[in-house]
Amino acid sequence: MASKQITPTRMELTRLKKKLVTATRGHKLLKDKRDELMRQFLEKVRENKALRERVEAGIAAANKNFLLARAGMQDQVLNTAMLAPKQRVSVESGIENVMSVDIPTFDFKTRTPDQNDMFSYGFAFTSSDLDGAVKSLADIFPDMLKLAECEKGCQLMAVEIEKTRRRVNALEHVMIPELQANIKYISMKLDENERSTQIRLMKVKDMVLKDAHNYETF
């Protein structure tokens, strides 16, 4: 049943029919978008999960190594060793467009060409555990950056999927049924009007004939 007052005119009917065509087409397109986004999202989120598990395990291992290194060294020595970092990482960020969702891509560059050139201290006064700890952290770093890219992509895609899903549902369960009901209401009303006009005309014809020739048609 139509929820609000609509005027049963031919013009309104044409307008609603056009609107229905647009809504149906929009619904189909949005549904396709949702399905494709969902497919890509699930792929990405699986990758995200695997990366996160790997990174968390890697960082936990590195933290263990750092703990050992700290145990074997004085705090001041450790602080001095880490005081002036030799390496510097900068990130180039690009934008990848996945089904009209912009997600960032990261590409990192190190200041020195050799990525392993990162020990900012002489090896004489620090424990060898520290070297191992720094190395283990460096090994996990590319994965960490990939994780950042993947996780951010997942978050942005999740927001977009939620939005698209709401739109699809609104079109499917509210807009389209309402339009169809209104169209049905108008066309029935118009038919009814037409029938009543027809009957009226027939009646008038009868009356006219009766007046002119004085005979009954039925």
Binding site: M38, E56, F66, P85, R88, T110, Q155, V159
Partner: protein
């Protein structure tokens, strides 16, 4: 050209300085929130934050979630894994799909 920041308690993050990331040791939640807000406005593409600190900054993290950059990524600190990072992934799945189909409630 963007930079990478690491935010958290000092013990958890000082190692990242050797890799060439910029470390910002913070003591408490309030200081953490202030620093995170400041970093979000600067040219940082990725901000790693320890899970222990991230727990108190849910509102800040939510705000960063919608924007393209920076990506705020929780990492486990020296006190171990609190599961916050994996929960954020779960949250994404729930938001997109409606129910958690990847982790199956684990």
């Amino acid at each position: 050209m963007y930079r990478i920041a690491v935010l958290g308690d000092r013990d958890s993050i000082y190692g990242f300085a050797a890799l060439g990331l910029e470390v910002f040791p913070v003591a408490g939640t309030e200081e953490g929130a202030k620093t995170l807000r400041r970093l979000c406005e600067q040219d940082y593409a990725v901000i790693y934050i320890t899970e222990a600190l991230a727990e108190g900054l849910a509102a800040e993290l939510d705000r960063c979630r919608q924007s393209l950059l920076p990506a705020v990524i929780p990492i486990p600190g020296v006190r171990g894994n609190t599961g916050l990072g994996i929960n954020m992934v779960k949250h994404s799945v729930e938001q997109a799909v409606g129910s958690d189909i990847i982790f199956n409630g684990n």
